[in-house]
């Protein structure tokens, strides 16, 4: 018996480890829709979202968890989709930046704040920031600037447009009444 790397195996293995464990049937919820697919084991969730189901709003930066461009919501929590395999999302609920607005014309309150405060320069990092903040909002929002900044620190903006991003985030998280330590 050979495995799919062409390496000879000494002993036959019992299922589910077999030739077929290189590919997997998965079913998950993405932006309130059921998605089924057959994926290779090593397919990253980012690449599944972008290339397999066409949701290119999730961006790919560093692929090592540092930059935050690929941040999505997994069961309501902000996570790095580059550090998760598509097969690991089987049975889970995912929200991407495409799923933030309730209709084509409406923006979520966080998107609206970024629009009003011009919380972007080139826009590459924007989906990641929006998803990190959406995760924070789902957990009840930040109590203060420190907690907000802790979340913002998880996303990198290489245009260094942080002032407007922070302004937008504070507006969206209702921290405007609190005095800013900007």
């Amino acid at each position: 018996m050979k495995n799919r790397l062409g390496r000879t195996l000494n002993t036959p293995l019992s299922p589910p480890y077999s030739e077929s464990s290189a590919h997997h049937e998965i079913q998950l919820h993405v932006n309130d829709e059921v998605v089924t697919a057959r994926v290779e084991s090593r397919l990253l969730l980012t690449d599944f979202l972008r290339h397999r189901i066409g949701l290119t709003g999730t961006h790919v930066g560093c692929e090592q968890g540092t930059c935050g461009a690929c941040t999505i919501l997994l069961d309501g929590k902000a996570i790095r989709s580059c550090l998760m395999l598509a097969v690991q999302a089987n049975g889970r609920t995912i929200r991407t930046v495409e799923g933030l607005a309730v209709s084509d014309e409406k923006l979520s309150s966080i998107q609206k704040a970024f629009h009003e405060q011009h919380g972007m320069q080139c826009g590459f990092c924007t989906p990641g920031f929006l998803m990190s903040l959406s995760g924070l909002a789902e957990q009840g929002g930040p109590k203060n600037d420190a907690e907000l900044d802790d979340h913002l620190c998880g996303n990198i903006c290489r245009c260094t447009g942080y002032v407007n991003i922070r302004r937008a985030a504070r507006q969206a998280m209702d921290l405007d009444a609190v005095e800013s330590d900007e």
Binding site: R4, S14, S41, Q88, N90, C153
Partner: protein, 286 residues
Amino acid sequence: MKPAPFDYVAAQSVDHALTLLAGEVEAKLIAGGQSLMPLLNMRLGRTDLLIDIGHLEELNHIRIDEEGRLVIGASVTQADVQNHPDVLAGWPMLAAGIGEIGHPQIRNRGTICGSLAHNDPAAELPAIAMALDAVAEIHSVNGTRTVPVEDLFIGPFMTALAEDELLKQVVFPPQQEGAGWSFKEFATRPGDFATVGVAAQIALLGENVSDVKIVVFGVAGSALRLDATEASILGRPAERAIDIAVSELEMEIKPAEDIHSSHLFRKELAVELLKESIAEALERCL
């Protein structure tokens, strides 16, 4: 980059994972994947089989056992521990230290046991687990063994875990009543790996130090328990503890030089962080 090809199995149970681990195929366990996935993506590491235990409910427990110990299973995320009321009440250093790991988006997936099994020399959790005298419960098809975490960490990214073993849970004993604690680290940017960090816990009897644990990380291949520095201040007056500890520390550690920092800067950081953490721990003593 993308990972080299591997096979993947979502384990149905711990026993299933152990059976796969004991097989002929070279396998790695994955739970949160926040250390392993970057290695696979950058092809610094590769494996033939990835065994996923992150979804297993039998590993998803944070509980206090009958002896008052905190027991954390292998699929429990850092975020869950950081915000757990029992942890905040009984093991505040653990909660505070987790707050320094990466970013919230990382802690939502990263696990406690995964960080211990990975043993990055700059990671917070190995140092905290050592300072809190935690014990690792390790399983394999051949049985179970418990190992003090101090003996688990044998070098950079190396542990005493055998290839067929799984770190099923980590157990933190109840901490001494009235002891003060401190966790401090220096990182170039918030959320970066620390250049140097210190975890300290001190108890007083009257004016004298009656119990002390100090662990530094970032200055050696693994988190380092400062035996000599601890011994130098044990039984000594609290008001002299910082001066005595600093002169002992300068002899006890020999940090290496790397791209992030010179050995002199590391030593200076360790001294400053030690001063600050002893002062803070003493302030927190009841």
